[in-house]
């Protein structure tokens, strides 16, 4: 499936859209970290929580945690949320 990468993470991916796979967001980020080492910790903290200023959309729905299920053909957007002034 296609993963849309925000600007701050393109230092890892060098691309704005990458391909990765998984049955859940947890699996997906394991795959992303294999492809782009270090990227997972930039989005997910050591307790397995999505960092406070990051949002992840699966298609049109915001994911609350890494248990969110995925299906082939889903589109995942990682958003570095607008925060601060």
């Amino acid at each position: 499936m296609q993963i849309h990468i925000p600007t701050p993470l393109r230092a890892y991916t060098k691309q704005n859209i990458v391909e990765a796979n998984g049955a859940t967001l947890a699996d997906l980020f394991a795959d992303l970290d294999r492809q782009f080492p270090g990227m997972r910790f930039r989005v997910i903290n050591e307790q397995g929580e999505i960092r406070e200023h990051i949002k992840i959309f699966v298609n049109q729905s915001i994911a609350e945690n890494l248990r969110a299920p995925l299906a082939p053909g889903d589109a995942v957007h990682i958003i570095a949320a607008i925060s601060g002034g």
């Binding site: 080492p37 270090g38 930039r42 903290n45 050591e46 307790q47 397995g48 960092r51 949320a81």
Partner: protein, 377 residues
């Protein structure tokens, strides 16, 4: 450390919005400023390995993307992120764990352990790298100490920038002998390279606590161990300036003789690397509600040449009025030249220096982002 350095000085400057490097000529009169490094990331500390490798580590919080460590092995030309930044262990299922908000204090370990570094974090944790800063592991002897929850400030308590672990010091005579500080929490000592720790707070008086002389709960802002006499310790505390001669195991308040309106409340403390009796502080307004700026807008450093028995004001060159300086705990340090050079960075983005041990101050830089750390290399 006893012999004075000569030649150019490199200043490593961490700010709220990136890092900068300033390099001097051999006379320390002409300085050049680098381009910004990692612009946008908050750099709490930036330290060069003085043991020979000259690796530079930066403790960073990268905005949306959380905390990490950046490292350079080519004197700052290129930077790589740590492959495994400091992180607390994942909590067991059903329990709430803690996560590193920002990496704060950075120091190389003992000279006998090349490539080993320590980092202190917020929330309070101690981490160790054995591969020159590339990967980091928690020091469980401290982070998981049976008494740790008595000592620390929980992440949602403490100062506005979060409770920090800072001022990690290793005795140059013995790699097993370590000190660290919790702000707040107090001073702690280990005699077995971090496997076990005990409080070392006797003599501190913290008037904000129900029991001002409690075993723990104190608020050391910055602590230094003298390199020639490692049994001579100094700290700038929330409630005073203290000295300990280790054999006494008791802190002595040496800040009471500071003249009003300069208080004994501040953040940094700087030692003379060749004289254990010489110490500098930069007093801020400590009155309620803690202005934390130079009293009356008249910045001044103070030096004691006798271990804190008395203090001399050093304001020559600073603004005589309208100088509302704030200087954070890692933003005032010294080189090792003769005479000693002093350097400080303000939260308003100015860098100041004295080439003559504080007798006269000159401004080196303006308009940087809020300065968090200044280290001379």
């Amino acid at each position: 450390m006893a012999k004075a350095n000569t030649g150019a000085v490199t200043l490593l400057i961490g700010t709220r919005k990136g890092a900068f490097v300033m390099k001097s000529d051999s006379a320390r009169r002409a300085w050049k400023m680098s381009d910004g490094i990692m612009i946008g990331a908050t750099i709490n500390d930036m330290v060069m390995d003085h043991r020979g490798s000259r690796t530079i580590l930066m403790s960073a919080r990268t905005g949306h993307l959380g905390p990490t460590i950046f490292r350079s092995t080519d004197l700052g030309k290129t930077w790589k992120e740590a492959t495994k930044p400091p992180a607390f262990p994942k909590a067991p299922e059903g329990e709430k764990g803690i996560s590193v908000h920002h990496n704060f204090f950075v120091t190389p370990a003992h000279a006998s352990e090349p490539g080993v570094w320590y980092v202190g974090t917020s929330p309070q944790g101690l981490f160790r790298s054995e591969d020159d800063g590339a990967s980091w592991e928690p020091v469980s002897g401290f982070n998981d100490h049976p008494r740790f929850k008595e000592w620390w400030n929980p992440p949602d308590e403490g100062p506005p920038d979060g409770p920090t672990l800072h001022s990690v010091m290793i005795d140059p005579r013995d790699a097993r002998h370590m000190y660290l500080c919790l702000s707040g929490g107090g001073v702690f000592e280990s005699r077995d390279q971090g496997r076990d720790w005990h409080p070392l707070n006797k003599g501190q008086v913290s008037d904000f606590m129900p029991n001002p002389t409690a075993e723990v709960g104190h608020d050391p802002h910055c602590m230094k161990m003298h390199p020639l006499n490692p049994d001579r310790l100094y700290q700038q505390n929330h409630c005073g300036v203290y000295r300990m001669d280790r054999a006494t195991a008791e802190w002595i308040n040496i800040g009471k003789t500071l003249p009003k309106p300069y208080s004994d409340h501040s953040y940094p403390i700087v030692l003379h690397p060749r004289d254990p009796d010489t110490v500098w502080i930069f007093p801020l307004d400590g009155s309620f509600p803690l202005g934390r700026v130079s009293p009356g807008g008249k910045p001044a450093a103070f030096v004691s040449r006798n271990g804190g028995k008395n203090w001399k004001k050093q304001a020559n060159g600073f603004p005589k009025s309208g100088g509302w300086f704030s200087v954070k705990r890692q933003a005032m340090n010294a080189d090792n030249h003769d005479p000693l050079g002093l350097y400080l960075g303000t939260t308003s983005g100015e860098v100041w220096t004295s080439r003559d041990e504080g007798a006269r101050w000159t401004r080196l830089a303006t308009s940087l982002p809020e300065i968090y750390s200044v280290r001379a290399a």
